[in-house]
């Protein structure tokens, strides 16, 4: 009797799964495997104290569809490589050393990787999360070119972006996401919009909101393109 009802439960369950639409399956996958670390629903960070940022486990994904290039997402989820050399909250992965602080690499966990099929499903679901399309529409950025030298001066000497970001695998700061891969990862308008006003994307961002005019943002975004295509 007991056995039979178990069997029944299994059969119903299998049928139930098979009946799930791909998008429902994708939502279930995100909920079960990703939501413990990533915000998948809009967060009102500004209403919490900044301590919230120190406790966040991972970058928010609730605006993933306004941020990432879908083809990058599908690849990365199958073979994730570190983007932030010091993790999502650098102070938690930093230890003092004889010549200054160093990143405690052993404390940085490997990211979960997905099968090709699951990566497709997850990416499709993430790309539907687009609450900030208005922010992208508001930015005045036409993809263009800049000489690498001029762009590099803007990124380094004039604006100090290299203090926190690497624009080459072996050059730059460690506390921000690597940017030599930014053009492959991110939508051009997201790049321009985030540089213009990072606080609008995340009130507790660790990136300072420099007062950059549109021409400066244009040059910096174009540099990330030219530099990224070089790599």
């Amino acid at each position: 009797m007991m056995k039979q009802s178990n069997l029944l439960a299994i059969v119903t369950c299998a049928l139930g799964l098979a009946a799930l639409s791909p998008s429902a399956m994708a939502e279930q996958l995100l909920e079960q495997q990703c939501a413990s670390c990533h915000a998948l629903q809009a967060e009102d960070y500004a209403s919490s104290t900044v301590q919230e940022r120190a406790e966040r486990k991972a970058p928010p994904l609730y605006y993933a569809g306004n941020k990432f290039r879908p083809e990058w997402l599908v690849q990365w989820l199958q073979k994730p490589e570190r983007i932030r050399p010091a993790g999502y909250f650098p102070a938690a992965h930093t230890v003092p050393g004889p010549d200054g602080d160093v990143v405690d690499s052993d404390s940085l966990p490997e990211h979960i990787s997905l099968s090709a099929a699951d990566a497709e499903l997850a990416s499709a679901a993430l790309m539907k999360l687009t609450p900030y399309t208005d922010k992208l529409d508001a930015v005045d950025y036409e993809v263009g070119n800049i000489s690498w030298r001029m762009g590099n001066l803007n990124f380094g000497k004039f604006n100090g972006c290299d203090a926190c970001h690497r624009d080459a695998p072996d050059y730059g700061g460690l506390s921000g996401p690597e940017l030599y891969s930014a053009w492959d990862r991110l939508q051009p308008k997201f790049i321009a919009s985030f540089i213009t006003d990072p606080v609008a994307w995340d009130p507790h961002t660790l990136m300072p909101a420099n007062d950059l005019n549109q021409a400066a943002v244009q040059k910096l975004s174009d540099y990330l393109k030219v530099n990224g295509e070089d790599e």
Binding site: V50, G160, A163, G173, P208
Partner: protein
Amino acid sequence: MRYALVTLAVSALTAVSAHSWAADAEAGKQLYQIYCTQCHGINGDGKGINIPDMSVLPRDHTDTSEMSARSDEELIKAIKHGGKAVNKSVLMPAWDKNLSDEQVDDLVAYLRHICCDK
């Protein structure tokens, strides 16, 4: 004996509240940890994880003589408007869009604490 303990606890409490900076510096410490340690170091000694490729090193905020030579106004200006505003390096960012005036005051209280309350 119990009475003595109570007196002790009460006087400890008064001692804390007598220093009105205590609460601010505590909030400042948390802000410093989140925003500033990436360059100024987890101990405030100017040796954060970002320094290997930096052409100008971040100020050592535990350096008593240098830090005593700055007025609160100078520190506030540097934090809010960046190194450029005080004729220093652009590598010191402007934080006025990220932080409220109150948070900047908390940070200054914390800087005063780590530089000079030895």
